[in-house]
């Protein structure tokens, strides 16, 4: 069922996998992991399902290690923020753990010198790939003045940087999706060759803004990628109460562009799907909806308690399909990583996270006198 393809297969998307064999070699697809969704209605699947990635997907070992280092850095930073939170030193944490491989795969498939990303609050790893530093993130986490994303005005995890083309986001869910459509429209009109990629959860796909943005992008065949990080819950609301279908990607057809489902714990599979989507966009063929199946390892935020709505077994089963661990295994398998390199990397990352934490803890809070600046352009 999960591999049935009823829409006309999109050659461009499929093409991304010509480098590898299409025989599934890796483990269980996350779609089949246990989920307390209340019954598995059989669904018609109109989206394309990406095959699992194999081998090195045509990337050099250096590139593969770079990819890995971002996943590992995001994980380490995220864990540190939780520690700081539990120790009462960080007021609020939104975690991306479980989503990192998908985000890094997606971000690397773009042109980081010109493309535009519109992350949501789970997109720590994606934002790091686009140039935010551990220190930037920690400044925001501790609400310090040097926070370049908002000057400590927004809650942590509201990533943004004009210079890095990471678009400032708000907390209301899904509002960034039409922004992506507009950015893509401007890119097309101005001929910049940019692709816009916007991220959101499967909950966000229930909002009118998702619909209106996809529809508009479809009409004008805009260079935009709608990247859904489907972690099966919107806070406590399970997928089955969020939508009657299993896959957000199945909605793409209704907007006139392809939907692609990919195992979000398989970094290279996501990379391939997004790369194909970006190429398609740059060829002027329009949007793609890429749905990465992921799972969030932690509660919704540091204010949430997920035990009310998820079983420990379910969480455990998904943690066993951690994208970080899977990518590490893959890189070891193909000889791109070994114990020594890994140890060195961990040391570097720990140092980076330590330094970021120290810098943030020593940084000043914003000057209260600045609180009313920048409501409007200053003359």
């Amino acid at each position: 069922m999960a591999t049935e393809t009823t829409s006309a297969p999109d050659k461009a998307v499929q093409g991304a996998f010509e480098a590898g064999s299409t025989t599934p070699t890796n483990g269980v697809s996350p779609v089949h992991l246990p989920l307390h969704q209340g019954g598995g209605t059989v669904q018609t699947l109109s989206a394309t399902v990406e095959p699992p990635s194999t081998g090195d997907a045509g990337l050099s070992h250096d590139s593969l290690r770079e990819l890995y280092s971002y996943v590992a850095l995001a994980r380490a930073l995220d864990e540190r923020m939780w520690q700081l939170n539990r120790a009462g030193r960080a007021p609020f944490v939104v975690s991306g753990q479980g989503h990192e491989a998908a985000q890094v795969g997606a971000a690397f498939a773009l042109d980081r010198d010109k493309d535009v990303v519109l992350p949501y609050y789970r997109d720590l790893a994606l934002s790091l790939v686009f140039g935010l530093t551990a220190e930037d993130v920690m400044m925001a986490a501790l609400a310090r003045a040097p926070d370049p994303t908002s000057g400590a005005r927004q809650m942590p995890a509201h990533y943004g940087s004009a210079a890095r083309r990471i678009i400032t986001g708000s907390s209301p869910v899904a509002t960034q999706i039409p922004h992506a459509t507009g950015i893509a429209y401007a890119a097309k009109l101005r001929g910049t060759g940019q692709v816009a990629l916007t991220c959101f959860g499967e909950g966000g796909a229930s909002k009118g803004d998702f619909h209106e943005a996809c529809n508009f992008a479809g009409v004008h065949k805009l260079p935009v990628i709608f990247f859904c990080e489907n972690n099966h819950y919107a806070i406590s609301v399970p997928r089955a109460l969020q939508m009657a279908i299993e896959h957000v990607a199945d909605r793409a057809e209704g907007y006139g562009f392809p939907g692609v489902i990919v195992d979000g714990t398989d970094l290279l599979a996501v990379h391939g799907a997004v790369k194909a989507a970006a190429e398609r966009a740059r060829r002027g063929e329009g949007p793609t909806l890429v749905e990465a199946k992921v799972y969030r390892f932690h509660p919704h935020t540091s204010d949430d308690d997920d035990r009310a709505y998820r079983s420990p077994d379910e969480v455990k089963a998904w943690k066993a399909h951690d994208g970080l661990a899977r990518f590490e295994t893959r890189l070891r398998d193909i000889g791109a990583l070994d114990d020594e390199r890994l140890a060195a990397l961990k040391t570097r990352i720990n140092a980076e996270v330590d330094a970021a934490t120290d810098a943030a803890e020593q940084a000043p809070f914003p000057d209260p006198a600045t609180f009313d600046r920048h409501v409007y352009a200053e003359p």
Binding site: A143, M155, I235, S236, M243
Partner: protein, 354 residues
């Protein structure tokens, strides 16, 4: 009864469910959140037509736990975890109300109500009027609002004024556990759409006695928190508590006798109580934690200026949030933004010595 029902709806009854977990009758101090929780539960027990819907109201019992335990007691048909779609939540609540139910919709934060403004302002508010009384829309919209909890720009907003500006709506803001009960009962029983705004900072901070039994607070009646003769403070929500602190401080310093009015109901507004107090004291401070322009404070100040002109001894003075997109996250910035007892006291001192 003028109300419209398409088919006979089940009637209000107190027999629907056995009362479980009763509060002792003499319960002295209930938290604000418990008062809301208990009243909502009692209303659902008493009237099968009442149902609640919103994001995370079921399994999670609400992100603030206002509806904790409801799913178990009332089942998932009357306690609905909705998709993430505010316009859809209010739009379908309107439909439910049109077909004989009494939905209580929760918007997780007032900051997220904007996508539903069309359904609230153009639909719920106008259904009775546009149909010349042929239809009515008895829905309650609950939403946590207000700042001071490090919620930053999107978990701190106070945008009640835009609803007060909209004819056809009613807007209430309880400031005590007792009013939380009395106003919620009245709101649910009301045949028109009511916004019921809960200051989230008060949920666990504010405690007080809650009358047992059928305790109703009529909409449109302000509460005189304390009587006084030298100056009046008019406010609502969490600012009632800040104003009370400020009033006590200034009274102690200056010996002035300060009247404090808690509006409770912003629409309808208890104009008489406000104007009478202004006439009595001649000096009025109007406080809101919302942005100032076109705010409830503007409305009250304009009203007093119009109706108590000859009695005024000083300008009607507003204390409101600055015209800055509420509210920065970092504590020093939040503090600079937020209206609090100190800022109210400063304005009160100036007013008294005018």
């Amino acid at each position: 009864m003028k109300g419209y029902k398409m088919v006979q709806a089940p009637q209000r009854s107190t027999l629907t469910r056995p009362r479980a977990d009763p509060k002792p009758d003499d319960a002295p101090q209930t938290s604000f959140i418990d008062a809301i929780h208990d009243t909502l539960r009692d209303e659902m027990r008493a009237d099968e037509r009442v149902l609640i819907l919103g994001e995370d109201v079921g399994r999670r019992g609400g992100v603030f736990r206002v509806t904790a335990g409801f799913l178990d007691e009332f089942g998932d048909e009357r306690v609905l975890d909705t998709p993430l779609a505010e316009s859809g939540i209010i739009g379908s609540a309107i439909g439910m109300a049109l077909n004989g139910l009494r939905p209580v919709a929760e918007i997780q934060f007032l900051d997220f109500i904007h996508p539903a403004m069309d359904q609230i302002m153009n639909e719920a508010a106008r259904i009775r009027y546009r149909s010349n009384n042929d239809f009515q829309c008895p829905i309650v919209i609950r939403a946590p609002f207000g700042g001071g909890i490090h919620g930053a720009l999107y978990h701190s907003q106070s945008i009640e004024a835009v609803f007060v500006h909209t004819p056809g709506l009613k807007v209430v803001v309880p400031a005590t556990p007792a009013d939380a009960k009395g106003l919620l009962r009245t709101a649910i029983r009301d045949d028109d759409p009511v916004l019921y705004l809960e200051h989230k900072k008060m949920y666990r901070l504010i405690k007080g006695p809650v009358p047992v039994g059928d305790y109703d607070v009529p909409l449109g009646q302000a509460r005189i928190v304390q009587e006084g003769t030298d100056a009046t403070i008019v406010t609502y929500g969490m600012m009632v508590h800040e104003a009370q602190k400020a009033a006590a401080e200034v009274a102690q310093e200056t010996g002035a006798s300060i009247e404090l009015i808690d509006l409770r109901s912003l629409k309808p507004l208890d104009e008489a109580t406000v104007v009478d107090s202004a006439k009595k004291t001649g000096k009025v401070l109007v406080v809101t934690e919302a942005n100032g322009p076109c705010s409830v404070a503007s409305e009250v100040a304009a009203l007093i200026g119009e109706q108590a002109f000859a009695w005024l001894d000083a300008p009607v003075t507003r204390v409101a949030a600055p015209d800055v997109p509420a509210m920065p996250f970092s504590p020093p910035l939040e503090h600079a933004f937020l209206v609090d007892a100190a800022k109210i006291a400063a304005a009160l001192r100036r007013l008294i010595s005018f």
